[in-house]
């Protein structure tokens, strides 16, 4: 799903789906992390108004919801790019040259953890995705690429017309 910056106010069924998820957990504060997972899946990222709505519905202090959302790496408070490259920097990938891959992506796209100004590509890093046998590995839009080289990344970037 393409991540868009739709605010909570927009009427579409995503809101309804989120509501359904919360009611499945009986609006329990214990289910905060599950609810945040669902919200991020639906909206692509967790906007401030979205977090506020969740806090109200689950009857939790806004600070607690923001605290949890920022504590965990998985949750993103900023919209993601159209395409995402997640470079694994677990030990096996690190030893196999993951840093070179990050350098390449940073040169052509954005710094790790950021998105290009045109919203096309997000560059991220992960602490071991458990594909150590395929090191160095990169997750490109949800698919694991095995034994990645800087050349291969360049080819992929060319395909989506990154300058």
């Amino acid at each position: 799903m393409a991540a868009s910056a739709t605010p909570v106010g927009a009427k579409d069924n995503r809101e309804k789906l989120l509501e359904r998820a919360m009611s499945r957990y009986q609006y329990s504060g214990d289910a905060l992390i599950e609810v945040l997972h669902t919200a991020q899946e639906l909206f692509g990222f967790l906007s401030r108004p979205l977090l506020k709505t969740i806090a109200q519905k689950l009857k939790l202090p806004h600070s607690r919801v923001l605290g949890v959302a920022t504590f965990y790496h998985f949750f993103s408070l900023k919209p993601k790019g159209e395409h995402t490259f997640v470079v694994c920097i677990g030990t096996a990938c690190y030893v196999a040259g993951a840093l070179g891959l990050i350098e390449g992506l940073e040169r052509r796209c954005a710094k790790a953890g950021q998105t290009t100004p045109d919203g096309k590509v997000s560059v991220e890093t992960a602490r071991c995705i458990g594909s150590c046998g395929l090191a160095p590995a990169v997750i490109y839009d949800g698919n694991v690429l095995a034994r990645v080289t800087p050349v291969l990344l360049d080819t992929e970037l060319n395909k989506i017309a990154v300058p």
Binding site: S28, G29, D30, A31, L32, I33, E34, L36, H37, R64, G67, V68, F71, Y72, H73, F74, F75, I89, G90, T91, A92, Y94, V95, A96, A126, R127, C128, I129, G130, S131, C132, G133, L134, A135, A137, N143, V144, L145, A146
Partner: protein, 551 residues
Amino acid sequence: MNTEELKEKQTEELARQRALKDRILCCTAAGCISCGAEGVRQALLAQAKAQGREGTVEICGTGCMGMCGRGPLVLRSSDQQLYGGVTVEDGRVLVSENVIDRQSLLPRGIDLQGPFFSRQRKIVLANSGRVDPEKLADYIAAGGYQSLAKALEEMTPRDVVEEIKKSGLRGRGGAGYPSGLKWELVAKQTTPTKYIVCNADEGDPGAFMDRSVLEGDPHRVLEGMAIAGYAVGAQQGYIYVRGEYGLAIQRLQTAIKQAEREHLLGARILEQGFQFRIDLRIGAGAFVCGEETALIASIEGKRGQPRQRPPYPPASGLWGAPTLINNVETFANIPPIIERGGDWFAGIGTAGSKGTKVFALAGKIANTGLIEVPMGTTLREILFDIGGGIPNRRFKAAQTGGPSGGCIPEQFLDLPVDYESLAQIGSIMGSGGLIVMDETSCMVDVARFFMEFCMDESCGKCIPCRAGTVQMQDILQRITTGDASEDDLEMLKTLSELLRETSLCGLGQTAPNPVVSTLKYFPQEYEAHIREKRCPAGHCHITSKTQEVLA
């Protein structure tokens, strides 16, 4: 279903499988899928249809077959021949009855009698690569859920705890606490509500054992948890699984649904009085959540920050109730122990460490992948016989235990690997990640890498860990760029001591381990960086200004 129906189902499924001309097993674990296994499976299915063999040849997706570096892997059951690097184009000859057709595949054949397979002993991974993780019938055919039936019908909860104690099984998450004792502690509590938690938050970089078990044999973990629930008197279990493990989550969800439908989980299990539900909790990317009290906080929907122990979770855990937390591999060991008895299990391994251990081999090694060996196997056997050695270069060190572990140098290659021996030389068993390094890996940089990891992952609750890891990372960074002095080395040692003694939880207490062990076994590398401003491995970019002065 009840026990009788379970056994009937097994006989029926085995008969069906025997009647087939061939079962072609296609590894669909995460590793092989990322090299295109799904396409291969589709091609095999299409070929079976095209060659009119769909009634007699079954194409099965399975869990991890072990040799992840050679994927996608396909095993033909009829002639027990394993092939690596299979492509979509190979589909036709793999399905074909004609042996001659497969001659072109011979160079890619993998010898199942070779040391990689013959030197292993599979208990936890017995079903991985043999059963379809998405089919309950496959697991039942392999004897699945019969240990649960045996426990419920022939044993009291107390007997089960005794059997686990007798087996000598120790926690496979890293610390190695005797599982039987832990179970007994929870069983003794008199509160009506208790919980079972399966720790599947496998966060160590370089470890993918739990992932493979969950992806390859999810029912076994469910069965192990249900047996634990029966033994300690819990009716609810949670599996806390990493959010990054999408395939494992999906297969667990499928497995739970299938088991509930057949009354193997949920109310009235096997038509007996026992009830046990399992729910998934998806982690959100915090390494510290592998620590049990942080994991509990996370299940409760809070930030994953650890708390002071005691009380330990067996006394007061999830929502204040007694909670049994074990690792995936520990639970996966339970069904075979119940099936074959504690004495059988205790007969494998060494005096203090029983059974087998699953290791994930990665780094500079020929056969990257997943292996299982009896405790006490030497590192040399693991790395050189099973792992196939280091391609083209010399072995320098093996790293175990991730950011909490240490580096094992060459002189300890003949050490039998178990909990005690690894602790003795300053490393830990850890969860089973084994990363091999050759002479091009710089040990200072490895220490820096792990310290950076701990710095990022520190939850920020206690100061020694929060501030200490930042300081240590800073010093290590300066050593690798050639900007450090001898005083820094002293400070590094002081800080190591401080973190170990005063941090709140395991993350901070063990964070200095990689530094301490590399300082102990590779002091010359630190000295070379500091005094001579050079990196013996040729890995670090020494950019220091001091270097120019020296020159």
